[in-house]
Symmetry: C2
Subunit: 368 residues, 2 copies
């Protein structure tokens, strides 16, 4: 039992800004003097509609999104997007190109395989997903229905370092940005569709952000015409994401988290601070003489998920145990890969990262 907030390195759902939680607690029973919780408001009423449209407007403002795009707030998680993308964008006579950089891109491809033809223009599987493929080595064609990338690989701890060259690709570019959206600057114009579950950088689980270019949206209409209404992007775009009841509280939290990002300097400031936080941990790894072994190749490191192992499984286990006793939460690697993972999304403080770095250093001194 603790009365202090602890160091939360969960991979998602993850840490939320304390200010956002405090505000939610404060107005949970009576939102904005309306005599009811925001959860009790109709999604067709003024109070919620304001929250909803602010969530969308703040997304556009923070990312500098032009009128050439629609912003949607959906349910189902990124995993439902794995299906919605091919339902809406993969016609029978084309192939979708999935660039494989980890477990999540594999899953996205597998889901698309149920609905049409896919191939993989590059894969990091050979090197155990330690590296993002070199741009030159990625195969793409103008005939690709779309090219799908995962911007940040939550499980392996790698990330695309640079989004500029995607502008060279001729087919529509689609990105799963679940674990790094709003953590760094983003040239939205190089993408045609971006999706992200909220539960890492921008809110609680239960709401999924989708950014889609109007040109691509137009294309979906012919491809998805026999798809159920609820699974078509056009349905949600036409109703401003109020086709059916949205997850109102999750949207409210997302809006407040985005406003917190804005109040704290926007994407530039997030990026600077996230680099600083990540550098603390990567330096601890690099200066450990091989005691801590990073999974990601230095050229492909994620600033969101720092993955590493210790010299033996025994030491890894001991490290995780002692960390837990010291109020560091969520440092276990993903069940599928083991080891350690520190997820340091926007709401994880520099102080938490410093505390972890210090612990890593002292653990090493004791156990090397």
């Amino acid at each position: 039992m603790t009365n202090e907030r602890i160091h939360n390195f969960n991979a998602g759902p993850a840490a939320l800004p304390p200010e956002v939680l405090r505000q939610a607690a404060f107005e949970l029973e009576n939102y904005n003097g309306t005599g009811m919780s925001i959860m009790e408001h109709s999604h067709r009423g003024e109070s919620y509609e304001h929250v909803h449209h602010e969530a969308i407007a703040t997304t556009k403002r923070l990312l500098g999104i032009s009128d050439a795009y629609e912003v949607l707030l959906l349910q189902g998680g990124a995993s439902l997007q794995f299906a919605m993308v091919p339902y809406n964008l993969l016609p029978p006579d084309q192939k979708a190109n999935y660039i494989l950089t980890g477990a999540w891109s594999e899953k996205a491809k597998k889901e698309a395989d149920h609905l049409g033809k896919t191939y993989s223009g590059a894969s990091g599987e050979d090197n155990n997903y330690k590296r993002i493929p070199d741009f030159e080595a990625i195969e793409t064609t103008v005939d690709d229905a779309y090219i799908h990338v995962t911007s940040n690989n939550t499980i392996y701890g790698t990330a695309w370092q640079d989004f500029t060259r995607m502008a060279e690709w001729k087919a529509p570019v689609i990105a799963d940005m679940s674990s790094d959206i709003f953590s760094r600057s983003l040239p939205v114009e190089n993408f045609d569709l971006i999706y992200a579950g909220a539960q890492k950088n921008i809110g609680p689980s239960g709401v999924t952000l989708v950014i889609i270019s109007k040109t691509l949206l137009e294309k979906t209409k012919a491809i998805a015409q026999d798809v159920p209404t609820i699974l078509r992007y056009s349905t949600h775009a036409e109703k401003a994401s109020l086709y059916n009841t949205p997850p109102t509280f999750a949207v409210y939290m997302l809006k407040n988290t985005l406003q917190w990002i804005e109040a704290n300097g926007g994407l530039q400031a997030m990026e600077t601070r996230n680099r600083e936080k990540a550098a603390l941990l990567y330096n601890a790894i690099d200066e450990s003489d091989g005691f801590y072994r990073g999974h990601a190749h230095p050229s492909s490191r994620s600033n969101m998920n720092v993955t590493f192992k210790l010299p033996t499984e025994e030491l890894t286990r001991l490290f995780l145990e002692e960390a837990k006793e010291r109020q560091f939460s969520g440092l276990n690697g993903h069940r599928s890969v083991g080891g350690c993972r520190a997820s340091i999304y926007n709401a994880v403080s520099l102080e938490s990262c410093e505390a972890l770095r210090n612990f890593m250093v002292s653990f090493q001194q004791k156990h090397r």
Copy 2:
């Protein structure tokens, strides 16, 4: 601006129990002494897993659900179920039978029409959905892929009065119970699949409850084998609804709302109190000498949504305006039908219903 909670007659999202909101506010920043919000816990961690499994266990306990059923917690609202049901249960060589009792059953049928063949074994459309069809008049066959009913028609304010005779139907029986689940006793064994968005009787929006018999679940496996993983019931059943990140806060609220129902006497007590609440309003209608005109035929009245009109549109408008000034919220009828609707789900108090009845009586005295 008010510091008092107001009379909330919203149709959904709707009133939540004040005790449940108070508890959520109290532990929002530090859940159960863990140093973080329940929203910040991993869905793979002990704290959330306990909440998740309690939500399922409480559902089973309250409804007396046997081991012959699985309880699932999904995303996407009832509207995604409109598609998941035929994806999982409508084979190409059979027809699904949709009993039409209102706008929501029509929508459910329309979504199924994208995926296979349907027909309607009875429809209340002719009488403007004032009545639930007589049991004798409903056409069903053993060859129906399934028979779909909407137990409570949120928009028209009608409800099936009795679920016992569904046991006579030979095909699997599927019910959308979004707007009356947990409001009255329920012979689950007469249904093969029940689904409900949480946002009326059992929580905030963002989580959908599905109860499916294991026999039916087995059937879905052959029918849905080419359907994307995320849209198959078997996927979620096999992973205890933790296939992907669940809407953790919505599930937490659902669990607490179900425990509130349990602490307040369970379904029997809810049913008794809901009848009493509804009787207050229906009596005001019946004793108004035709000033208030109920939409539902008395034999088909819903105890959840009480729908009525006044003698003129002008008076209806005035009624809604004055009601709003008196802190009655959400009394507008659904945009598609107009008039007035008082939604009186479990968390709406007897006092709120009494206050509305009194207002109805005094408004009539002034304006008749």
